[in-house]
Amino acid sequence: MAAILQILILGLALGGVIALMGSGLSLVFGVMRIVNLAHPSLIIAGAYITYWAFKASGVDPILMLPVSAAIMAAIGVLLYRLMFERETNSVKYSEMTVLLTFALAMMVEGVLGGLFTNTQRVTSPDYATEAFFIGDVFIPKGQLYAGLVSLTIITALTLFLKYSRLGYAIRATTQNREAAELLGVNVNFISILAFAIGLGLAGAAGSLVSFVFSFFPAKHWEWVAMLMSVVVLGGMGSILGTVVAALLLSVVAAFVGTWIGATWSTMTFFLALFLILLIRPQGLFGEKPEMA
């Protein structure tokens, strides 16, 4: 029983971080229909910002989170204006954004490789190697803190989307871009804002990832499939779906990793992606866009 509880706790803690990693991807897809293949590489960029600050002056990764988020959000504004704004009226918008974000991912990987080499990195605050013990069960402090911070950020994001005026505009743009525009929403501004928030979430996730996983510039290839499976399972564009899917898959992956073998753990995400596309392409919380 203690062993099952142990696996469950580890799975949930990691799931919280993966939920944050996927929520930015989901938001950007929901509002702009951009499948941002560069999202994981931008998470790694956030991790490197945090790593650099930690190495240079010992700044705690969690304290660096708002800085990393702000830097990535600012980069998001620039990237959107440079890369996507001019494509919004293109009939091949979706295809173009896939190609553009693929190219962006390659560029980010190249820049990070040039700056930091391809060596595996990890920030190592004291709590990253400590744990709480409750009987026979241990809870790694690093994963626990990362999971709790992730879920706090996602809760704040959800409240913002649910109750603020800008949140209404983002949700409206997600559900019906043309209708939002007709009701006075400046959808271009909302797209820039949502992209900035999406990349801000990538930056925030990067800070947490920096002490939970080891990372190197090409790591994003592994994460892109994992995050896609989370976002597709949850329902493209649904933040709640992303959280549920991340927690669910992480827990399943933890059990698979423990009982079958660590190398099969990642397969859980890929298999889920494959099955969900076959059985329920709109995901758990996705809905068909047609009105009733």
């Binding site: 043309e178 007709l182 009701l183 006075g184």
Partner: protein, 242 residues
């Protein structure tokens, strides 16, 4: 005639494609219901989309209350007081009725005023009040159309443009939509209507506009349009006005 909106010989189309409108004109008087009729592909919906800023006007001009609207974005035109309800009703299916109404007042800065307006609308439309917390996407077609039309009233617009509000609705429900439209007009809201059911549209309007191949062929009092034998033959299926 003291016009509220003047559309003068406009040319417009989708993207870089061919012009759908080519020489369309229109005069809109305040407080009246205007019905645009014409065959499929005449450019009726394109005309409304051009007025509300969804399409770029290539030639000609649109003047509202003495102000030129050419080149303005839809949100800017809305702030001038022109609301547009497209064929698809433009609701947010995963938002509740109340949230949809709140979006209807997105351009209002006064939050208390907005909530007061929402309560007024819910009071006037009992079916919406009953379903205030229901997701719009789960309502019937008629209820959705009622919501789409009621939502325009939140900002007390000068002109409401309706693109085929009767589309896909049962006959009994269609009459309810026209009743709402008349109520809007009685309150001083000018209505610009595109209607495939030309006979019914004209019977419920003050002014008729006949559009064909992107051009305005005729405009005048709805009664005159209904009585014109050529228009009856070409656009009203040979039906004589009752």
């Amino acid at each position: 005639m003291s016009e509220l909106l003047q559309v003068t010989n406009i040319t417009a189309g989708y993207g870089d494609g061919p012009a759908i409108l080519d020489g369309a004109h229109l005069t809109v008087e305040p407080g009246k219901v205007h019905c645009i009729i014409g065959p499929n592909g005449a450019g009726k919906s394109t005309l409304l989309k051009s007025i509300c800023g969804m399409l770029t006007i290539r030639k000609g001009e649109v003047v509202f209350n003495g102000k030129r609207l050419n080149g303005m974005r839809p949100d800017q035109i809305l702030r001038e007081g022109i609301c547009f309800v497209p064929q698809e009703r433009a609701l947010f299916p995963k938002m509740t009725v109340r949230e949809n109404l709140r979006m209807g007042g997105f351009i209002l800065d006064d939050h208390k005023k907005l909530e007061r307006r929402i309560d007024e609308i819910l009071e006037r439309f009992p079916i919406l009040r009953e379903r205030a917390e229901q997701h719009a996407g789960t309502m019937s077609g008629g209820q959705q159309q009622t919501l789409a039309m009621a939502r325009t009233l939140i900002i007390k617009p000068a002109i409401v443009m309706l693109d085929e509000p009767s589309l896909g609705l049962a006959p009994k429900v269609i009459q309810e939509m026209f009743d709402i439209m008349k109520m809007m007009s009685a309150e001083g809201v000018t209505v610009l209507l595109v209607e495939q059911n030309a006979l019914m549209g004209l019977k419920n309007s003050d002014w008729g506009v006949v559009l064909d191949l992107g051009r305005t062929l005729f405009e005048g009092p709805a009664g005159d349009v209904l009585a014109d034998p050529r228009i009856q033959e070409l656009y009203l299926g040979g039906n004589k006005a009752a």
